[in-house]
Each structure stands twice: as structure tokens, then as C-alpha cells.
């Protein structure tokens, strides 16, 4: 196919990738932050220490995270059907991405919160702050810089996941590179997509680094 024909297809694929990635970043980012806070707060010795809840959350994260995403798609099938109504298509695929991103980001959030000086949390408690206020005014702002870097890392992971969207008929840049590049023995097409993805990742990483630096008050 010529670039005249490929151009519009590439644009459509980029749009699909943008949809998958953005929805996942918003939903997975939000739920992952909540789950990560839950992990941190219920850890023994912390603000809402609860051994049972912590154990459940911790095991859940450890079970989900290491499953290869292409297998995770299959395992999640029944739940995807229950929530989305079908197991193929961009919505079903994005749903699976959101679930995986939630668990991946939860661990990143927890690890960044652990590095906060417990003395600062104690000081806030000593001033009569409630746990909810401490989350809002101490934990998130104090860990903001590493959280931004973690979120940037999540973006790269999510973009990576979206590459196999073609497997469930969700399309996207990865699918485009396989269908119109690899299978057509057209290395130029594959190359263009790879360069495009690298450029996007570089841009986002730059943005993340600069935001993280600004959030770091040192």
C-alpha cells in the first residue's frame, strides 16, 4: 500500500491508541492511587493499620501484576463480559488495561509513599489532622514528585500494553505496525510506527521529568 492509503489508517490507529491510553491513564491512575493509598495506610504500624485488609490488597497486587498481559486478557474474559458486555473490541480491551494499570500503579504509589518521613505524618497527627486530611495535605503533596515520575512510568507501560490491542480487535498503533508493516514485509511502515512511539514516549518522559522537578521543592 502507498502512504496515500496508509496515512488515514495510521491516523485512525493513533486515535485508537490515544483513546485506550488516555482512558486507562485516567481510570487506572485514579483507582491505582486509591489502591496504593489503601496498601500504604493499612500496612502494620501505619495510620489505618489493618493486618487483614493489607494482606488481601497485597496478595491481590502480587497475583495480578506478574501475569503477562496477553494471558491476563484471557483470564479476565468472564469479568470483561460481565462489565462491558463483550470480550472483544476496543472497550473490552481498554477495560482489561484499566484493571492491570490499577494494580501496577497501586504498587508504584505504595512504594513512593513508603519513602515519606513518618515524622511528618506524626506531626500532622499531633496537630489534630484526620486521616483523610493527612492523605490530602501530607501524603499526596509530599510524595508528588515521585508520584509524577511513577505516573510517567505507568504511561510507558500502558502504551506497551496497548500494542497488542489487535489481539482483541481494538486496533491501535501496535496493530497497524503488525498488519501493515510486519505481515506485508514492509519494514518502512514498521519503522515509522516505532519512531512515532519512541517520539511520544520521549515527549511524555520529558514532560514528566520537568513536572516532577517543579514539584520537588529542593
Amino acid at each position: 500500500m502507498s502512504w496515500d492509503q496508509l496515512g488515514p489508517l495510521l491516523w485512525a490507529a493513533a486515535g485508537q491508541t490515544a483513546y485506550m491510553v488516555l482512558v486507562t491513564l485516567v481510570v487506572g491512575g485514579f483507582l491505582g492511587l486509591a489502591l496504593g493509598l489503601g496498601l500504604y495506610l493499612t500496612r502494620p504500624g501505619n495510620l489505618l493499620a489493618n493486618r487483614a485488609v493489607f494482606a488481601v490488597l497485597n496478595v491481590a497486587v502480587n497475583v495480578v501484576r506478574p501475569v503477562p498481559f496477553i494471558i491476563f486478557l484471557a483470564v479476565l474474559g468472564p469479568l470483561t463480559r460481565a462489565v462491558v458486555g463483550r470480550t472483544i473490541g476496543i472497550e473490552a480491551f481498554t477495560f482489561a488495561m484499566c484493571v492491570m494499570a490499577t494494580f501496577v500503579f497501586a504498587r508504584l504509589v505504595e512504594q513512593n509513599l513508603v519513602s515519606i518521613d513518618p515524622g511528618v505524618v506524626e506531626a500532622a497527627r499531633a496537630m489534630g489532622a484526620s486521616p483523610l486530611r493527612i492523605i490530602r495535605t501530607v501524603l499526596v503533596p509530599e510524595a508528588l514528585s515521585p508520584l509524577i515520575l511513577g505516573y510517567t512510568f505507568l504511561f510507558v507501560g500502558v502504551l506497551d500494553m496497548s500494542a497488542i490491542g489487535g489481539y482483541l480487535g481494538a486496533g491501535g498503533l501496535g496493530d497497524f505496525a503488525i498488519v501493515h508493516g510486519y505481515r506485508q514485509y514492509d519494514w518502512a511502515v514498521t519503522g515509522v510506527v516505532v519512531v512515532l512511539i519512541i517520539a511520544i514516549v520521549q515527549l511524555v518522559q520529558l514532560l514528566g521529568n520537568s513536572l516532577a522537578r517543579r514539584a520537588l521543592r529542593r
Partner: protein, 369 residues
Amino acid sequence: MTAPIISFRGATKVFPGRRRGGAGEVRAVDGVTLDVHAGEIFGVIGYSGAGKSTLVRLINALEPTTDGSVVVDGTDLTGLSEARLRPVRAGIGMIFQQFNLLSSRTVAGNVAYPLEVAGWSRARRAERVRELLDFVGIGDKADVYPSKLSGGQKQRVGIARALATNPRILLADEATSALDPETTADVLALLKRVNRELGITVVVITHEMDAVRSICHRVAVMEHGKVVELGDAYQVFSAPRHPVTRRFVASALKDRPSPAVLARLRERHPGRIVTVRVDEVSGSSAHVTHVLREHEVDGTIVYGGITEVAERPFGSLTLELVGSDAAVGAALAGLRAVTDVVDHGTAADPRDDASAVVHAPGNREGSDR
């Protein structure tokens, strides 16, 4: 005597052991009963692990007691729910060894934090923050982030933050332990001002006897979770009873010569070496001068120092006495009549008095208020 603002009654805090079945549990605070009076600066001193940090956390219920009771400003904290404890905590200021400032907020933002918790309006907060920063002497640092401040400035921010909501009690947990000596003196002076000008009761936790010496009215000495000595700071310094207290006093007052120093003093000075105590009861060293002149004995100061404990003079001087044997003997008797004397003898006739750091009995009652 003023009413107690903080009362511990058999207060106990046990941390459960890591292993199953509670093995290895730690009795951090073990049956402490004591009162802190309104308006005083109360010191709690002890080595690390003595339980003093846990004790102070019982006051604002950052740690709940396992047994016994803690009554703060008329409120019994025992068994209060977390939600009920929050307003109590908000009414008690606390400062920390590592300052514990929010690095994501400016100096003004840090000081405003407890005011936000207490629900003050933005305008009132701004006014109060300015007032507090002026009080602690860093009015020009309002918009700076804590990472740009020195340790002393950070602790000033900590103090301003702790005073924001007009607490009646200020808890200082090793507040000067991370600071250099000069900055320590500044911060201690500020705590004294907080106590004097604002009438706030200050509880100082420290392992530095110097802090106690310069600002505390009364002091409790802790070891293994228990209070082993309690009393007027001057009294505890001048007549320490417990071995731990003696070690602390010796660390703060380096006025008494060690055995090695004594040996060198005897080498250097042929006369009789004696150490005389200078305190409020025995009066200034003028008495010593007077006695020596009376017996025609020359006294040369060869070691020692006089300092202030709780704003009263305290210390000792080591003298070389030169004169006829009879005159020196008579002078020694004369000195013993006015103060505590330790006779170290001479190089030829050394008397290695074990009581060199422990005071001779006799003047005990006199030093009690």
C-alpha cells in the same frame, strides 16, 4: 503550688513483641506517676530507649496508654476515641528533633497548617502566621521552602507552627539534639521566652543535660521506662541520688577533675589540692577567699568552673593551697564550715577521694528549697 496541667497516674505503655504470643514485648513506659504544673518548664531526661519519647507521646495521645491514666488540662485521655482525641491534640503544640516540616509547603504554609485544621479563615490565618513568624524571628522567610533553611531556622518554623493555635502546652521532643551548640542556645532561649511571655507550659524531652540546666524548673530522670528521680532542677543537679542522674550531671558539669587530671595537677602543683563547692547555700567563692586570708594560706585556682543551674550559681573550684601544714589544716577546717570540701592531698600524700564527684554529706538539707 500551682495546679497540675498534666497528671500521669501509673501510666504504662507496652509495645507488643514482634513474635507471636507477645514474646519480646517492650515496656516503654512503666507505671509513671508524676504531675507537670501549669506554667513550668519540665524536663524529662534519659538515655535513648529510656522511654521519654513514648512518655511525651502519651500526653497528646499519639500513643494510647496500655494501663494507668493521663489527664491533660482536665481531660482524661484514657479510652477516648481517635475522633475525640483530635481536638485535644490540636490544643497541644509539639516540636521534633527532625523538625518534621512539610517540604511541599513554604514556611508560611507550614505555620498555617494547624490553623487550617482548626478551621481558621484565610485572612485570619495570614495575620496569625505573620505574627508568629515575627515572634520567632524569621518574618522574612515566609515564602521560602524549608529545604532552604538552616537547622535553627527550621526549628523556629517548628515552634511557630506548634504555637499557632495558642496551645497551653508545648511538647519539645529532643528539639535541640540535631542543632549545633550555638543554635541550641538560641532555640532554648526561644523556648524560655515562650514559657515566660506566653505562659505556656513546656515539656522538654532531652538526653542533653545542658538543656535541662539552662531552662528547666523541674526535671524527671528516666531509665527503663521508669522515673528514677524527680525534683527541682537545682536540687537534682546539686544532690543527684540515682547513678543515672550522677552520670548526666557529670556530663553537664565538667568542673570536677577526673582521677587522671588530679594526678597531673599534683605533679604540676606541689601544694595541697582541694576542691570546694560553690553554690547558692555556700555562697560565692568570697567565703573561700576570706577563710584562706584568715589562715594566711595562698590559694591558686587550678581547675573548675562555676555555671548556672536553673538560673542559680552552681559549680566547684579546685585550688592549690600553699602554707605551713598547720595553717593549711586550719584553713581546710575553716572551709569545711562554709562549704563541701574534697581533699585530694599532695603528690607525696595523694588522697584519691572516691567522693570527688559525689558530694560529702552534711549540706544536703541546706540545698533543698
